[in-house]
């Protein structure tokens, strides 16, 4: 699995603890198979999440890389693709 997955999961949980995205997420077990929709994050929250991932991974995430990514595992693989 992609190296970025743990960073993505940690970022989601941190933002949930800060209530930037739904707090309920702190009670969920996140994995590569977790569907992004199941997190209940609104569109602005998703942009916040991506900005935070950019900071922590020190990378630029272009918009087009995200369309059609359904799970956290797919997101991690897409971001790995951008880094390589």
């Amino acid at each position: 699995m992609a190296d970025l997955l743990p960073l993505i999961i940690e970022t989601i949980q941190d933002l949930a603890r800060q209530r930037v995205i739904p707090w309920d997420i702190t009670e969920m077990t996140l994995s590569a198979d977790t569907e992004i929709d199941a997190l209940g994050i609104d569109s602005v929250g998703k942009l916040d999440l991506l900005a935070e991932i950019e900071e922590r991974a020190d990378m630029a995430i272009s918009e087009g890389a995200l369309q059609g990514r359904r799970t956290l595992g797919e997101l991690a693989l897409a971001l790995e693709g951008l880094r390589s």
Binding site: D37, D58, E63
Partner: protein, 414 residues
């Protein structure tokens, strides 16, 4: 049928050239005007490419006589259009309408720097800092005494100003209107905000001439920039009386809000074409034209991952089977997405296309995105009669759309 307005002058100031022939020959040659961003530091991990104007050159704001870049660009483009039209009219029958989205933020930023350093602020700052400064400066310089207005509706501002000018001519509020759009986006504030919104291209930072790629599979966002485009429009009756040369007719306009809509989701974008189709239809109706009259489309085509396919789908929905043979092009591969200036520069190019029967190629559209199933003009300019041209603009965030219709002079409603 509603009256059309005569376009008697055009003035482009862009990253591919200043003045009609320089601008037009660069567009026809498929030259890119985007290069490394030099006017300020790029945002961290953000877009480092920009469409910068060489003439007039950029320079730091003089604190003793502060002139925002936006005003400077407007002056340069407006003077070109004014001279091109050789305007002769009573000053009280001449109006000025200017569109600008972000306005004079460079002067705000420079003023904040002075305040923080405890330095004196020039009193003239108060007269130059408002978004209305460009229109006021042009009225003062050219002794315009008729209607005056500034439209600020984001990236569509330049197109909306042209629509307002058409309304003034139809209503008899003015015989002549100097109208255009101006924008100077290359400031840390604007670039930082648009980077946070994930609107700007980053993938092609290492190849700046290739960064703006309308309808191309590898596009990844807008390339910011600066510029200004101005037109002189007047009633056909006035143009005839003074023996003015008419380049094309400004025939119709529509700007419509989308209403309630799904928020944009970068993972699952919803392509709702209905509002854009509704807007294009409304502009054609305003022009007294039908869908079957459309000979060419000047697309918004901003190299956006989301809006390029949405626009292509909307054009296809509007035109039906005619979309297979109706040429579509975007000037933004050449001049970037320069806010309010782009639709005004699109209008300048549209006028020249109608007048000269040529459509410039879409720069950097190398591998056309299969979702953008339109007949895109690529590689070489297309020589074709352009009797009716539809030009589109999409407001940032997808809250509103605008379209203009230009037609050839023969058959215009006078």
């Amino acid at each position: 049928m509603k009256l059309h307005a005569a376009v008697t002058g055009v003035g482009p100031v862009s990253a591919v050239g200043t003045g009609v022939e320089e601008f037009w020959s660069a567009l026809l040659a498929g030259r890119s005007g985007t290069g490394p961003l030099t006017q300020c530091a790029p945002p961290r991990r953000g877009c480092s490419v920009a469409a910068e104007v060489a003439d007039p050159p950029a320079h730091p704001i003089d604190p003793r006589d502060p002139v925002p870049r936006c005003v400077e660009l407007a002056r340069a483009a407006a003077r070109l259009a004014w001279r091109d039209a050789a305007v002769v009219a009573p000053p009280e029958r001449v109006g000025v309408a200017v569109g600008t989205g972000f306005g004079n933020m460079d002067l705000v930023e420079a003023t904040v720097d002075l305040l923080r350093a405890g330095q004196r602020i020039s009193p003239s700052t108060a007269f130059r800092v408002f978004n209305h400064a460009s229109a006021c400066e042009l009225a003062r310089e050219l002794d315009i005494q008729g209607p005056i207005a500034t439209m600020t509706s984001g990236c569509n501002s330049g197109m909306d100003a042209i629509g307002l000018a058409l309304d003034w001519i139809r209503a008899g509020r003015a015989d002549v209107v100097l109208v255009g759009g101006t924008e100077a986006e290359l400031q840390p504030t604007f670039l930082g905000i648009m980077t946070a919104a994930r609107a700007l291209a980053v993938r092609h930072n290492g190849r700046p001439g290739e960064a703006s790629r309308p309808f191309d599979e590898t596009r990844d966002g807008n390339v910011p920039g600066e510029g200004a485009g101005f037109l002189v429009v007047e009633s056909f009756e006035h143009a005839r009386r003074r023996g003015a040369q008419v380049r094309a007719a400004l025939a119709g306009f529509a700007a419509l809000a989308v209403g309630t809509r799904e928020p944009y989701d970068p993972f699952k974008p919803v392509f709702n074409t209905a509002p854009m189709v509704r807007t294009m239809r409304a502009a054609l109706t305003d022009a007294g034209r039908t869908v079957g009259d459309v000979a060419a489309v000047s697309a918004n085509g901003s190299s956006s991952v989301f809006y390029d396919p949405l626009e292509a789908m909307a054009i296809r929905e509007l035109l039906g089977e005619a979309a297979d043979h109706t040429p579509v092009h975007s000037v933004k591969g050449a001049i970037g997405q320069t806010g309010a200036a782009t639709p005004a520069l699109q209008a300048v190019a549209a006028v020249l296309s109608v007048e000269r029967g040529l459509l410039p190629p879409t720069v950097n559209a190398e591998a056309q995105d299969p979702r953008c199933a339109i007949r895109l003009v690529r590689g070489e300019p297309l020589a074709t009669p352009v009797r009716t041209l539809l030009a589109n603009a999409i407001g940032f965030g997808g809250h509103y759309y605008a379209s203009l219709v230009f037609t050839e002079v023969d058959g215009a409603a006078r």
